[in-house]
Amino acid sequence: MNQTLVAENVVKKYSSHLALDKVSISVPEGCIFGLLGPNGAGKTTLIRIINQITAPDEGAVYINGEKLSGKHIAQIGYLPEERGLYKKMAVGEQALYLCQLKGMKKADAMRELKKWFEKFEIQNWWNKKVEELSKGMQQKVQFITTILHKPKLLIFDEPFSGFDPINANLLKQEILELKKNGSTIIFSTHNMSSVEEICDYIALINKSKKILEGEVNSIRREYAPDIYEVQYSGYFNKMIATLTSDYKILDVKEFEGGSKMSIELLNKEMTNNDIISRLTNFGNIESFQKALPSMNDIFIRVVSNTNSEQAQAQN
């Protein structure tokens, strides 16, 4: 698969601290890539480097195999976390200006803007001043200006902050739509449930270092503890009696016509098939699945692990 963006050993120093310490990521084409990390980890610095707002001290960034340069500005759409518009300027004029700065021709920008304004049903905002719009309305305008020049690579920094649930959902649909149309999206957030929903890949940055990168599902499987969820109907007591040595039963929920239990595997040698074949003797298994951890759990676990490792190393 083509890599839309590759960052190699990127280092960025500020006078008193290291913002990025040899960070490498690679973002495959046509995916949604989640850039995760606690506050101050270095996400925004990395994003600014990709946007050429600042330059790395060491390392390099490549877009479609080419070293980052001025011509790539037009191929990137960036919605920063700290966002805003000129308050005194009219909406349409301002959108036109921002698109032209991205290198669009005035006539093209005008035509595309009209299309998007119709799509969002906001044509009557064109001559309004930005300060007359609500915050959510401003965000919509800003979103349009970010994607209007049809960038191959889109970077959204905390895109859902400031949106109400309805508009956040609208935005999510638009992001998925963009992905379908072939855009690659880098998406920085703290909102882990949105990561599970829409990201294909993630990279986790903590204290200037990348500590995790990969496909979301494989990461979740990798970090899954040996816990299984079984829904069944049958002889519960006998089941327990045969399994106690190899399992720990964590939780049992009974309901009409059956029960659901979580079991932790103690005997690491056992395969899924072994478990199922044992269970089938005593009851009717309706579903069996490995419990996957939420991204939130993984995030907290990995970050606190690395933090305590560092603390130990310092001691």
Partner: protein
């Protein structure tokens, strides 16, 4: 390059369309024109205002010939009317003044002319104008001089005619004609007063413009920062382009405003003078003026005197090289503005809101105010070493050099000053760009000069 063009266009358009810009552009010339036309209008208004002045003359020496009536002043010798031969009661006259038809009461005490520095009193409910006071003192002084002269003539046993002859011979009037010589041998009549006024106006305008448009740059930077739009913009253009576009855009706004001001002011002044002139000429045909035979000659005397002075001023004003001055003004305005705009941009990028700019304004205001002070002293001594050095130092040269130029400045001085100014503003823009690009992305931290120094050393 086209991106800088877009930024310049936006900065220019949004500012020029602002209500405050339009109001200032229209009000400015009206104010300037008012300053220029007001004296003429005031004179005209005063002329129209007829003043009847009661005179109590205890000396009995004054009459219609020594205190002459004019178009607007009439002397009413009340002491003769009511108490011929005896003293008129001053306190009673003062008490009656309010209800009488008299504008003022002139009291000439018996000993008014006995000493060399005599005095008379003028009582009125309104402050009498300069012209009336001059007219009265002139009349009384002339009478006193005549009396002294005729007394002396009696002592020396010569006739009044002879005295007049002597006076005529002794009468001297010296006019200092200042002529500046150029290196190429040509000479030009000039007027120090005119040079002073022009220099002062130019210097002050530059000071005002640097402040006005410099603050516009600073507020623009703060606006972008506090609106949080700056990060969106710098993902499309380089911070340096954004800063330069803003500085150039505002400069164009300044030039537009200046050109409009000059044109509108000239227009208003020309029209007002034309209207006034028409008024004056019709007033001259007024029959009232012709009836007052004696006062007419007096009035023409004054007019020719004034006309001569006016001619002198016009001649001196024509001697000023306006095209050269205007070019110099534009150069120093743009150069000075560019130099300070960089500093204003630093101040704007270092803070989150306008209230925090105070500490960074100090290095901007101190040299500018210093420039104004040096300018005030340089006006009296435009070739002194103080004026020389401050017209060379780039931070004050835009103000101080403009004061020196109307007096004539050696070519080398101007070249040195200009080269230094250009070099400094390039250095300042470079410095500002380095600090600006870090500052615009910094939020929430209270910045100080140490912090700015650190930003300066950041690599890209």
């Amino acid at each position: 390059m086209s991106k800088i063009g877009l930024i310049i266009g936006r900065e220019y358009k949004t500012r020029v369309r602002k209500k405050s810009f339009i109001v200032m552009t229209i009000l400015g010339p009206i104010l300037f024109a008012a300053l220029m036309v007001a004296p003429a209008i005031l004179m005209r208004l005063e002329d129209d205002d007829f003043k009847n002045i009661a005179v109590i003359d205890e000396t009995g020496l004054f009459d219609q010939y020594s205190l002459k009536n004019t178009k607007s002043i009439n002397f009413d010798f009340v002491s003769e009317k009511y108490f011929r031969g005896s003293y008129y009661d001053l306190s009673e006259a003062k008490a009656n003044l309010k209800d009488s038809e008299h504008y003022a009461l002139l009291y000439i005490p018996i000993n008014a002319l006995s000493a060399n520095n005599g005095s008379v009193q003028l009582f009125s409910y309104q402050q009498p104008n300069m012209g009336l006071k001059m007219h009265i003192s002139n009349g009384i002084e002339k009478k006193a001089e005549e009396m002294k002269l005729s007394k002396k003539a009696e002592e020396l046993e010569i006739t009044q005619q002879e005295i007049d002859n002597i006076l005529m011979v002794a009468n001297t009037s010296i006019n200092v004609i200042t002529t500046t010589m150029n290196d190429d041998g040509t000479e030009k009549e000039s007027s120090t007063t005119v040079a002073m006024i022009i220099g002062y106006i130019c210097g002050f305008l530059i000071y005002m413009f640097i402040f006005m448009y410099g603050s516009m740059v600073m507020n623009g930077v703060i606006e972008e920062k506090s609106n949080r739009i700056v990060e969106v913009i710098v993902s499309s253009v380089k911070p340096f382009q954004l800063m330069l576009g803003k500085i150039i855009g505002v400069a164009l706004v300044g030039i537009t405003q200046f050109v409009l001001w000059v044109m509108l002011t000239l227009g208003i002044v020309t029209i007002t003078y034309a209207v006034l002139q028409k008024d004056f000429s019709t007033a001259d045909l007024n029959p009232q003026t012709q009836i007052m035979g004696s006062s007419l000659t007096d009035a023409t005397d004054v007019n020719t005197d004034d006309m001569a002075k006016f001619d002198d001023i016009m001649k001196a004003m024509n001697s000023v090289n306006y095209v050269g001055l205007l070019l110099m003004f534009l150069f120093y305005f743009i150069g000075g503005y560019l130099l300070y705009a960089g500093m204003f941009a630093i101040a704007g990028s270092a803070v989150d809101n306008e209230t925090d700019t105070q500490q960074f304004m100090l290095p901007i205001t101190v040299p500018l105010i210093l420039g104004i002070f040096v300018m005030l002293s340089a006006i009296n001594n435009p070739d002194g070493s103080l004026a020389y050095w401050f017209s060379i130092i780039p931070f004050t040269s835009p103000i101080v050099m403009l004061v020196r130029i109307p007096f004539g400045v050696p070519f080398t001085d101007i070249i040195i000053s200009m080269v230094l100014l250009v070099a400094t503003f390039i250095a300042m823009t470079w410095l500002a760009a380095k600090i600006y690009r870090v500052g615009i992305l910094m939020y929430g931290k209270k910045t100080n000069y140490k912090e700015l120094w650190k930003w300066l050393k950041y690599r890209n």
